[in-house]
């Protein structure tokens, strides 16, 4: 039994180790977020937090609930596949409060050339013009209606 003589210091060391380990797990349980590990090695609640970010673009489906008249015109033309907010910009605020948030009137001289100014890098089948030669400074909506850009459609709105 002489081997277990004077083991007091070992017991004290073991106790300190046990207490330290316990403290570690208590602190860990307190500090690690509850949802950590819910789906993987990350905070599961982050998904909900990222999803809670407010939207700026309302989506064209919302526009269609009120502006079906314009939609009918647009559907018949070559801009059928262009979503409203592609030109009109983000309008989620307008969809929430159509009365007080009114979208700005657009300037076709700036707007149309964004897509239709001739550029060698654009796909060949995409309709392009050299705006300076094409209209000699006239605004595009002098002749073209942006919702149905074909010229013969003018007058139908």
């Amino acid at each position: 039994m002489s081997a277990f003589k004077d083991t007091g210091h070992l017991v004290r060391l073991a106790m300190a180790f046990v207490v330290g380990t316990l403290l570690f797990f208590v602190a860990r349980g307190f500090l690690v977020p509850k949802s950590f590990g819910q789906y993987g090695h990350y905070r599961g609640a982050a998904l909900g937090e990222i999803a809670a970010q407010p939207i700026s673009y309302g989506g064209h489906e919302v526009c269609e609930t009120c502006h079906s008249d314009i939609l009918d015109v647009k559907k018949a033309g070559r801009h059928a596949h262009v979503a409203c907010e592609s030109c009109h910009g983000p309008q989620a605020k307008h969809t929430e409060d159509p009365g007080s948030v009114v979208p700005a009137k657009l300037d076709t001289a700036v707007l149309c050339v964004r897509c239709h100014e001739a550029n060698h890098s654009k796909p060949m089948d995409f309709p392009q013009v050299h705006s300076a030669e094409h209209s000699s400074g006239l605004k595009c909506d002098t002749c073209h209606q942006p919702h149905t850009p074909r010229i013969e459609a003018k007058g139908k709105k």
Partner: protein
């Protein structure tokens, strides 16, 4: 600060409740959305991209991306003759305001919209030391702003250069595939604003999504396939010169 023992004992439970709230996080915002039913990707059609920069502007407005930083951007490639080794690529302001016409000898030229490839086996999430960036159960690579240390490992790890350090928050930032929109049944801001349909959000787990038909019938490629990142940004009409 002078706090009496009595005051401290009163304050402690309140602090505990507040900390509980921080740990629990914000509750799920879209109750009808099930992560396990989706697997998101994106279809980018180079043959349709006109380099108008609508996607770049929309992304900036939707996600409050600081000026000079991009979650998505458009590159213009110019390949003269057959020289794949002598390409020139430019992206003024990330293509936000379109591209000035190139003068002189042109050769082949086209636009390539770039964004996070939403890799299924993403190198960026693997290097994060704290679990602040991850692939969500629906296949979107996201950043947990509250957990990010700003160590920039992920920015170095992304082979596509899709990440940056937000100078305002000092946390890593990247395309979230508009996670706040797609979980509400909307498409991403870039897809919503693309006038030619060059970008299309794709749900690879939804059999009704037209992306499946498109992938079956077209020669589609991902960027840097040799890296086996499991990229889910599928490019149609991708030229061999694109890096």
């Amino acid at each position: 600060m002078n706090v009496s023992r009595r005051k401290l004992l009163v304050l402690l439970p309140a602090a505990a409740v507040a900390w509980e709230h921080v740990l629990a996080g914000t509750p799920e915002n879209s109750p009808n959305y099930k992560e396990t039913e989706h697997w998101w990707g994106m279809l980018l059609d180079i043959t349709k991209c006109i380099g108008c920069g609508s996607c770049v502007r929309a992304c900036q407005l939707e996600n409050h991306v600081p000026d000079g930083y991009f979650r998505t951007w458009v590159e213009r490639y110019v390949v003269r003759d057959w020289g794949f080794e002598h390409i020139s690529v430019d992206s003024p302001e990330g293509g936000k305001n379109g591209f000035p016409a190139v003068t002189g000898e042109m050769g082949k030229s086209f636009f390539v919209p770039k964004m996070c490839n939403q890799c299924a086996d993403s190198p960026c999430t693997q290097v994060c030391p704290v679990g602040a960036t991850f692939v969500s159960p629906d296949g979107v690579v996201l950043v947990d702003k509250k957990y990010c240390l700003g160590c920039r490992y992920c920015i170095q790890a992304c082979p596509y250069g899709c990440r940056f350090l937000n100078p305002d928050t000092n946390t890593a930032e990247k395309c979230s595939l508009c996670y706040h929109r797609i979980t509400k049944g909307l498409t991403t801001a870039c897809c919503e604003s693309c006038p030619t349909g060059a970008r299309q959000l794709a749900d690879l787990k939804n059999p009704a999504d037209p992306v499946h038909e498109f992938l079956k019938t077209h020669s589609v490629q991902v960027l840097k396939p040799h890296l086996a990142t499991g990229a889910k940004a599928f490019y149609n009409g991708l030229d061999g010169s694109v890096r």
